[in-house]
Symmetry: C2
Amino acid sequence: MMGMEKMEKKIPLQTVERMSLYRRILEELHGKGVANVYSHQLAEMVHVSPAQLRRDLASFGSFGNISRGYPVYQMIVTISRLFGTDTLQNVALVGVGNLGRALLFYRGFEERGFHIAVVFDIDSEKVGRVFAGRRCHHIQDLEAVLPDYSITMAILACGQQNLQSMVNRLGQAGVRSVLNFVPKQVHGPAGVNVENVDFAARLEKLSFLNRFGSAR
Amino acid sequence: MMGMEKMEKKIPLQTVERMSLYRRILEELHGKGVANVYSHQLAEMVHVSPAQLRRDLASFGSFGNISRGYPVYQMIVTISRLFGTDTLQNVALVGVGNLGRALLFYRGFEERGFHIAVVFDIDSEKVGRVFAGRRCHHIQDLEAVLPDYSITMAILACGQQNLQSMVNRLGQAGVRSVLNFVPKQVHGPAGVNVENVDFAARLEKLSFLNRFGSAR
C-alpha cells in the first residue's frame, strides 16, 4: 500500500465523502461476520457503480490479490487510518443548548472515533455544570482550556452572535477543523477547514425533488 | 422567466444545493436593506466563482436588465418558489429523543419554510404528551394521522431498529421525501427521495483534511 503522506493530492473530496459510506457498510458486514466482499456487491450496497467503487478504492492503494473479494476488516482499518480515526480523537463542543446536548448523546460520534471531551457555553447557568460527563467551561476560557485536551477539532452548536469571531479564536487556539451546526455560514481563517451543516438546505433539496424531480 | 414545470431537467442537484446557500446570503442582504447585488459581490460572499454563480442563476431563468445588479428580493422569491417554500410546508418528525427534541427547536426550519406539524414515537411515556406544541402520536398510528396534516415530508430521528421498514411505511402513507438523521443508511422505495444526514462523516472529512489536506 502506498505511503499515506503522499496521498493528499490524489484523493478528491467526493471520494473522501464516499469513503465514509463505504466504511459504514463495511462495519455492518464485519459485524455480520463477513470476511470478504466483491466490488460489485459492495457497490450495490452503497448505491454507486462498481467502476466508481473500484476507482475510489484504487485511489488509496492496493489490497493485494482480490480474486476472493476485498478483505472487509483490512479495508475498515485502512479507511480509519486514512481518516485518523483508528484512535479516538478529542473534539470540543461549543454550545450546550438543545442541539449541543443532543450531539453529546449522538452515538455516531464515538462509534466512528470522535470523543467530545470538553464543552463550552456562554450561559453562566451552564458553566461549571457537568453534561453527560463533561464539565462545561465558559467560552472566555477557551484558550486556557483547549490545550489540556489536545483539541484540533471543534463542533459549533451555539448562538449566531459573534460566530465568525468564535471561529477565528478557535483557529488561534490551535483548532484546525470546525463542524458548524449553527444555521449561519462561517468561513475558516487561514489553516482552518470549516464544514457548515445546514439541515434546512437538505429539506430544500428534498422539497425541490418533490416538486420537479422524481426519485431515482 | 421560464415556466418552472419545464425546469427539472435543466438544474443539476449541485446547483440546487448552492441555491440554498445563495438564498441564505440573499436573506442576510435583504435584512440589511440591500436591494441589488452584483454577481461578483454575491459570488465572493458565497465563496464560488462569479462564472459559476452566473451559470447557476441562468439555469432557472432571467432576471431582466441586471446592469444595476441582481434584484435581491426577487431572487429570494424565485428561489423560494423553486423550493416550494414560499408557503409553509408541514413536515412530520419521527422520534422525540434528544435529537428529535433539538430539531423541534431548530430555528432554521421555520425560517426556511418548514413546519414540524406532528411528531411520532414508539415510547408509551411520550405518546400523548405535547412537545413544543406538537402532540406525540404512536408510530403505529402513522397511516391514520398523516393525512390530517397534508404531510409529504418526514424527518427521522428515531432508533435504528426497523428503520428501512419505517421508510417504506412512510412511502405507502404518501410521504415523498425523507430526511434521515439516524446514523444508519436507508434507501427510498419507488417514488421516495431520501437524504441521509451523517454527522460523523462530516467529521471524518474534516479529520482527513486535518491530516492530508490544507485549508483553502
